[in-house]
C-alpha cells in the first residue's frame, strides 16, 4: 500500500483526465446557459478557489489561519485606495495588494507563528476581528461601516472589463496562475520542506530545516495570494466595507479547504467549486445556509478525512480491499 503525498490524488491517469474534463465542462457552463447569474457564480468560484489556495499553502506547514479574510481585505483596500485616491491603474493595484498583504503577514507572522495548533487558530481569529474593528475606527480610510462604493471596474491595458464574461475569463486565468504556483511549490524542494515541517516539526528542526522561516514563508505566500484575490474581488463587486471581510468569510474559506482536502493539491479548488455555488442557490433559504455548511463539514470530517479530493483514492482502496 503506497500513499505518497507527492502522488496526485487521482487513482489513475484516466481518473486524472476525467477530473480535468469535468472541471473544464463545469467552467464552460455559463457559456452554455448564457446566464449572467451563472457567470457571476463562476467568478465567485474562481475567487474563492484562489483565496482557499492561499489558505492551503499555510495549511501545508501545519497552520490553520482564521484571519484569511482579513488578508483578502488588506489586499482589497490596498488596491481600492491606490486606484481611487492615487489614480493608479488596476495593474498596479493588484500586485501592490499582494505585496502589502504579504508584508503584513511577514511582520505579524514572526510572533504569531510561534504558536501552534489551536492557539494559532485562536490568535488569528482575534486578528480578523481586530482588522474589522480597526477599519471601522478609521472611516477616512475604510469608509467606515458604509464602506467604499463605486470602485472602478477592472481595467487591463486600457480595456475595461465591463461584461461578466470578460471578468470571468480574467479570473479563470488568475485561478490557473494560482494553481500553477501551488503545483510548482508542491512538487519542488519547497513543498517537501513544507510537508516535513507540517508533519514533524521537531524532527524537521533537528534535520536543520529552519522551521520558523519555513512557516513564515508559507504564511507570506498564502496571504499574498489572499491579497491579490481581494484586489480582484473589490474591483469586480465594486464595493468594499470592513464587514465584507469579517470572520464569516474566513470560516467559509476554512470549510472549503477542509471539504476539498486540506493537504491535497486540488483540495482548495474542489472545495470552492463544491461550496461556493451553494449559498448562491440557497438565497431563498439564507437562514439555513450555516446549518447546511455545518452538516457538510461534519459529514466530510467523519467520512472523508482527506476531503473530496481524496475520494478517488479512497474508492480505489476500497476496491483493492474487496478484491
Amino acid at each position: 500500500m503506497s500513499t505518497s503525498v507527492s502522488a496526485p490524488p487521482m487513482a489513475s491517469a484516466f481518473g486524472g483526465w476525467l477530473f480535468v474534463a469535468l472541471l473544464a465542462t463545469l467552467a464552460a457552463v455559463p457559456w452554455f446557459t448564457g446566464s449572467v447569474f451563472h457567470f457571476h457564480i463562476g467568478i465567485m468560484v474562481c475567487l474563492a478557489g484562489m483565496a482557499t489556495g492561499g489558505l492551503a499553502v499555510i495549511a501545508w506547514v501545519g497552520q490553520l489561519s482564521l484571519a484569511h479574510a482579513a488578508f483578502v481585505g488588506i489586499g482589497a483596500y490596498t488596491s481600492v485606495l491606490l486606484v481611487t485616491r492615487l489614480d493608479l491603474p488596476f495593474l498596479v493595484g493588484l500586485p501592490a495588494a499582494a505585496v502589502v498583504a504579504g508584508a503584513v503577514a511577514y511582520i505579524i507572522g514572526a510572533p504569531l507563528l510561534r504558536l501552534r495548533g489551536v492557539y494559532f487558530v485562536l490568535i488569528t481569529f482575534a486578528l480578523n476581528e481586530l482588522f474589522r474593528l480597526v477599519m471601522l475606527e478609521f472611516p477616512g480610510i475604510s469608509g467606515g461601516s458604509s464602506g467604499i462604493a463605486g470602485v472602478p471596474k477592472i481595467q487591463l491595458f486600457g480595456i475595461t472589463l465591463a461584461a461578466q464574461w470578460q471578468v470571468y475569463i480574467f479570473t479563470l486565468i488568475c485561478l490557473a496562475v494560482v494553481m500553477a504556483l501551488l503545483w510548482l511549490i508542491r512538487n519542488g524542494q519547497l513543498g517537501r520542506r513544507f510537508a516535513a515541517v507540517e508533519e514533524n516539526p521537531a524532527l524537521a528542526e533537528s534535520s536543520g530545516i529552519p522551521t520558523a522561516r519555513t512557516q513564515s514563508l508559507a504564511f507570506v505566500i498564502g496571504c499574498a495570494i489572499a491579497g491579490a484575490t481581494g484586489s480582484i474581488m473589490a474591483h469586480y463587486v465594486g464595493f468594499v466595507s470592513p464587514e465584507t471581510f469579517a470572520f464569516q468569510l474566513s470560516v467559509s474559506y476554512v470549510i472549503m479547504l477542509v471539504t476539498g482536502g486540506r493537504l491535497a493539491l486540488w483540495g482548495p479548488l474542489v472545495g470552492a467549486v463544491f461550496l461556493t455555488p451553494l449559498p448562491e442557490f440557497l438565497r431563498g433559504a439564507v437562514e439555513y445556509q450555516h446549518i447546511i455548511y455545518g452538516v457538510i463539514l461534519i459529514a466530510v470530517l467523519r467520512f472523508l478525512p482527506q476531503g473530496l479530493a481524496g475520494l478517488p483514492e479512497q474508492i480505489a482502496r476500497l476496491r483493492r480491499d474487496q478484491r
Binding site: 500513499t3 503525498v5 517537501r192 508533519e199 524532527l203
Partner: protein, 237 residues
C-alpha cells in the same frame, strides 16, 4: 586516542528534579560507544543536552574539541546527527524524500547523491521501497530509514536513540551488524543509547552504564557484558 564527543560534569535539572548529576564520559573517534541503563536513568536527557533541547545547569559538551552551545541546531552544525526515538520519520513523505531531508544541511548536490547511494548500500531494503510512503514501512524498515536519514547529514558523530525499541529480535541483530559496518566503513563515531544492553554492549568498544542520573560503570563492551553486576542488573542472568 582522541575523543570525538566528550561530556564533562554534565548536570541537568527538570524543575526541582535533578536528572543528571555530574555525568562525564568520552566517545573515542571512529568507535561505537554504548550508553546503557534502565528506564529513567537519564540516557535520553544526555542526548537532549547534546542536541541543545535542555539547558544544563553545569558541565560542558565538546565535539571535536569545540564546545556545543545549549541551543537546538548547534550540535548539528558541529557534525552531530540524531536518529531520535519514537516518531522518527516524516510518515507521508517517501523513503527517498525522508533520506534527502536528512541531507538538508548538505549543500553539495553530488555529495548528497553519493551519500544516498551509500545509505542504499547499507540498507538495500530502503532502495526497494524508496518510492513508498515512510509511514507504510514495517517497524524495522522505519528504523533503518531513520538511521539512514541521520547518516545523510554526513555527521562525524551519529547518535542513535533506542534503535532496537519495538523491533523484532532478528531485525535487531541485523541492525546491529549494519551499525557496526557503518562505523567501520565510514570511520564514524557512534553513540548508541539503549535499554537493550546485550545488543548495545556487544557492539561497543566503550560502554557507559548510567543509573539514576550518574555514571555507575565504564569499561569496554566485553568487560561490562562479563561483569556479574551488569549481568544481574540488566541481562537477567
Amino acid at each position: 586516542m582522541p575523543s570525538d564527543l566528550s561530556i564533562r560534569e554534565l548536570t541537568v535539572n527538570y524543575g526541582p528534579v535533578r536528572a543528571l548529576h555530574g555525568v562525564s564520559f568520552d566517545v573515542p573517534e571512529g568507535q561505537i560507544a554504548a550508553l546503557v541503563g534502565s528506564n529513567g536513568a537519564g540516557k535520553s536527557t544526555v542526548l537532549k543536552a547534546i542536541c541543545g533541547l535542555v539547558e544544563p545547569v553545569e558541565g560542558t559538551i565538546t565535539v571535536g574539541g569545540e564546545a556545543v552551545a545549549p541551543k537546538p541546531g548547534a550540535a548539528l552544525r558541529l557534525g552531530v546527527a540524531l536518529s531520535p526515538e519514537g516518531r522518527r520519520l516524516f510518515g507521508r513523505l517517501t523513503v527517498e524524500e525522508n533520506l534527502m531531508m536528512g541531507a538538508y544541511t548538505v549543500s553539495d548536490r553530488r555529495a548528497r547523491r553519493e551519500m544516498l547511494e551509500r545509505v542504499y548500500g547499507y540498507f538495500p531494503r530502503l532502495q526497494e521501497r524508496k518510492r513508498q510512503a515512510a509511514g507504510s514501512l514495517s517497524g524495522g524498515e522505519q528504523q533503518m530509514c531513520a538511521i539512514g536519514r541521520a547518516l545523510m547529514a554526513q555527521p562525524r558523530v551519529l547518535l542513535l536513540d533506542e534503535p532496537s525499541l519495538g523491533i523484532a529480535p532478528i531485525i535487531v541483530a541485523e541492525l546491529g551488524r549494519i551499525i557496526e559496518q557503518i562505523s567501520r566503513g565510514l570511520g564514524m563515531t557512534v553513540l548508541l543509547v539503549e535499554q537493550n544492553a546485550q545488543m548495545a554492549l556487544s557492539l561497543a568498544a566503550t560502554g557507559i552504564v548510567l543509573e539514576t542520573g550518574s555514571v555507575k560503570l565504564t569499561g569496554t563492551g566485553h568487560e561490562l557484558l562479563a561483569s556479574p553486576e551488569i549481568r544481574a542488573a540488566y541481562l537477567g542472568h
